[in-house]
Symmetry: C2
Subunit: 503 residues, 2 copies
């Protein structure tokens, strides 16, 4: 039978457009649930989300999808967008069909149960309660790895879901470099005699004013309010429904304005990525960030390299003062800058600062890697966790709630996810280094409040491609090298020696 | 082949549950579009809505639906909910499949075009521009009527879409009774010597305070904020995603607080209906108001019989005063009551008061009825419109924009829709009469701010049934009679003679 490739390509594009429509629908439903959907409608809403998600999953593994993959793979004159979309669909198809359906169903039920057990176990600080579930989750994932196949280390199969192309070998190298220089730096600043004064940070800052300031900053960043909106939620997030509709949320703490300000800048960084993906990728699986880590590099770039930079506050401090109720009246720009850049060892990842954050990730990475390589067992995790925390950060959790049970990820079966957080910092620093070669006036631009060239550089080099390029491809094209932790190390050493006035 | 009816029933229920899920999804998307969705995402969003709507339409006319209808029609031991749902699906299936698909497609394209032409024609006040489109829309609908079939008058086929069971015969009777008594009453109040003072209505009333007052009133009405929320839009509306999620919107005009207050109460009335549909109807096509007219009866009941009642303001006037900036300081409750109940002839339907509103509807009804009975032609509509306006209301439009072109309905092909607005008033007055036999203390309840028994009576007699009962069935069960305009006439005569102090 002769098939017309152009026709099949067209049908395939229609098919993935429909899938993208379902994605947009589901994203809107989640956004709505988090921004004030009435409580009593939740149960019915969850059913509808479940229905749409299962429709979408079924489309990704359908006989129709299979025949598109078969018919179009190897076809020569497909558009670049079709080719990359097909590749995405194929990877997804294989990942989803290699697990026997009955086993996958059992796994989904397990994760739902495990999440609620984890919640209770954390509340009671009782790892033993969660242990049997975690053991099952790990062994399911070990089997999945054999179904999927892997190159080199088994854990690579998991990493590949979140950071395609980034392997244990790469991560071992960069995390090793980072740890070697950061651990002593953390110790040095803990012992520094000139600790920044921070008490003024915690005065009452009215919510409405925090909101007004957040809106001004988003605007300065080049966030397009014709293609987005800012709302309030318990946990801040950004969600891209399509490039013309990328929404940001933030949280206001009247006793600590930093929550909203840095939260907004962080989510704004994610949003700039999604607002500036090329329009030609709309309606395809490529219209998304290329990886967790690259996405995080964008939010961290804005939050830390811009939002916590002295030059940024030379421009914006007076505006912040205007909105505050006088808490900064006696505080110089430099003292303010030092206060918002304090760093030090802590127990909880999500409260960690930019200097110590990667060390929290390394604890998790080492544990996951060893687990999936059969070097350690689940039952020993609390002990290993505490030892690693002590080794990397010099602190020890008093109990499992502030130790091994603190994060939700494992209860949902998300193994291999954590490294992306730290990779985000490394990518970001590497991008910044490349950017500064072209925009030599990086600091001046911030002092002028002219952030547009920065945003445009990121769009040109990262945003526009969506998933057309893999993370490592982006890094190589932009920086001429693969992952390199030295840019982050140099940045952190210079910055924190300055903040803590270390000689 | 032996089929297991219970199994088929179960599959059918799953099928309609999925359809209800799509309906909820589409409703949420519209709500979102109207409450602040970013402009640049609209195009993509419209495509997604189109995709979901077309999926939903296809489910309603699918071979699968056909076989459910065939297999289950006549089955004896189905649940009452299944039976009624099947009936709904069958009516819908027949309506949608009797029109040849090619013709229907042509019609859909025509309506899209006609709406934009109407918009421009109205702007330029040029009926001739819109005439060819209106002619085509009418002739399409005339053909549809022959496809669908009808009993008695052809126009019944159109009425049946919005007010099932209510025929030309019924409407001629009730509209005739109404017109006979309302037309002279309108003239009498126009000539009344004691016209209410209204200038104080238009003072500046801050938006935030209007919002706070609106929230209080919704609460007093028994609107459940755990199952809903209030937002701001250009055109107020209520939308029921499911009974646990029924949202209301309102509009704030700082120069006329009535827009928000009566708009909120009106939409709140719609919302109470949908919040109180029985939970056992969730996930079926019965989980909705039974007709346009009954839905409108609920909103009008609350807006007029409660919200514009003297007793209601005896309770709530002091609260309104508290939120206002002093505009009512010199105004007695009675004078306030008179001011919010002024009535008189006007040209524009959507600005009309409760006394004259039905007359605006009658103009449209008479025209539609005659059009579909081939008694008049589209080209003569402007002339006929103006004559009817003069006959019923004693006013004549100066141009087509404020005459025959004022409403959007016809441009979308919605013929047979208008009567439901006036039927809503008639239903509402009839329900009120029945309610007062049981709740003899109607006025006292309002003076106490104890509106719960009123809401509960409406839930018991109307809300809970959703589409389990047809409109006329509800009226007969509750009031013991079919449609009767006298309750509305008595109410209006008594009220307006009082407001205008006619002897």
């Amino acid at each position: 039978m002769v098939k017309n490739i152009k026709e099949i390509e067209q049908q395939f594009l229609e098919y993935i457009k429909k899938m993208a429509g379902f994605e947009e629908t589901i994203s809107l439903m989640y956004w709505d649930l988090r921004t004030g959907a009435p409580k009593k409608g939740m149960e019915q809403r969850s059913e509808v989300i479940g229905m749409l998600s299962s429709d979408l999953f079924n489309m990704s593994v359908s006989a129709e999808m299979k025949s598109y993959i078969e018919d179009l793979s190897g076809a020569s004159n497909l558009s670049a967008v079709t080719k990359k979309s097909l590749q995405e669909c194929k990877e997804n198809y294989e990942r989803n069909t290699k697990i026997p359906p009955a086993e996958y169903k059992e796994y989904v039920i397990l994760t739902a149960k495990a999440e609620s057990v984890w919640e209770e176990a954390k509340e009671q600080s009782d790892f033993e309660m969660f242990r049997p579930y975690l053991e099952k989750l790990v062994s399911f994932n070990k089997r999945f790895i054999t179904y999927w196949g892997y190159k080199g280390h088994k854990y690579n199969a998991l990493l590949d879901m979140y950071e395609p192309g980034v392997t244990v070998e790469v991560i071992d190298r960069v995390f090793g470099q980072l740890r070697e220089r950061i651990v002593p730096l953390v110790q040095a600043i803990a012992n520094a005699s000139d600790q920044p004064e921070t008490s003024f940070l915690f005065a009452h800052f009215p919510k409405e004013n925090q909101q007004a300031f957040s809106l001004e900053i988003l605007k300065e960043m080049g966030y397009d309010f014709q293609a987005g909106r800012l709302d309030e939620t318990v946990h801040p997030f950004a969600t891209g429904l399509n490039p013309g509709d990328v929404r940001v949320t933030t949280k206001y703490d009247e006793k600590d304005f930093r929550t909203a300000v840095f939260g907004t800048i962080h989510e704004g960084g994610h949003a700039l990525y999604e607002q500036n993906i090329s329009n030609e990728l709309i309606g395809t699986p490529l219209c998304d960030g290329t990886s967790m880590g690259i996405h995080e590099s964008q939010s961290l770039f804005w939050e830390n390299f811009v939002g916590r930079h002295l030059s940024f506050w030379k421009k914006n401090y007076s505006t912040l003062k205007k909105y505050s109720s006088g808490q900064f009246d006696q505080v110089s720009t430099e003292d303010f800058y030092r206060a918002i850049n304090t760093a030090g060892p802590s127990l909880i990842r999500i409260e960690a600062d930019e200097l110590t954050y990667a060390l929290h990730i390394m604890v998790r990475y080492e544990i996951e890697k060893a687990l999936f390589n059969d070097e350690i067992e689940v039952k020993d995790l609390p002990k290993i966790w505490n030892e690693k925390m002590n080794e990397y950060l010099g602190v020890a959790p008093a109990n499992d709630a502030e130790g091994v049970l603190q994060d939700v990820h494992w209860s949902g079966g998300s193994f291999g996810y954590f490294p992306s957080y730290a990779l985000g910092y490394i990518y970001a620093a590497q991008l910044k280094h490349a950017m500064e070669k072209e925009l030599s006036s990086f600091n001046e631009l911030m002092e002028e409040g002219n952030l547009l060239p920065i945003k445009e550089w990121l769009t040109k080099n990262v945003h526009q491609y969506g998933k057309m390029k893999k993370p490592i491809e982006i890094m190589k094209d932009v920086t001429g090298e693969s992952l390199n932790a030295h840019y982050l190390i140099d940045y952190l050493e210079k910055k924190y020696k300055d903040v803590y006035r270390l000689t």
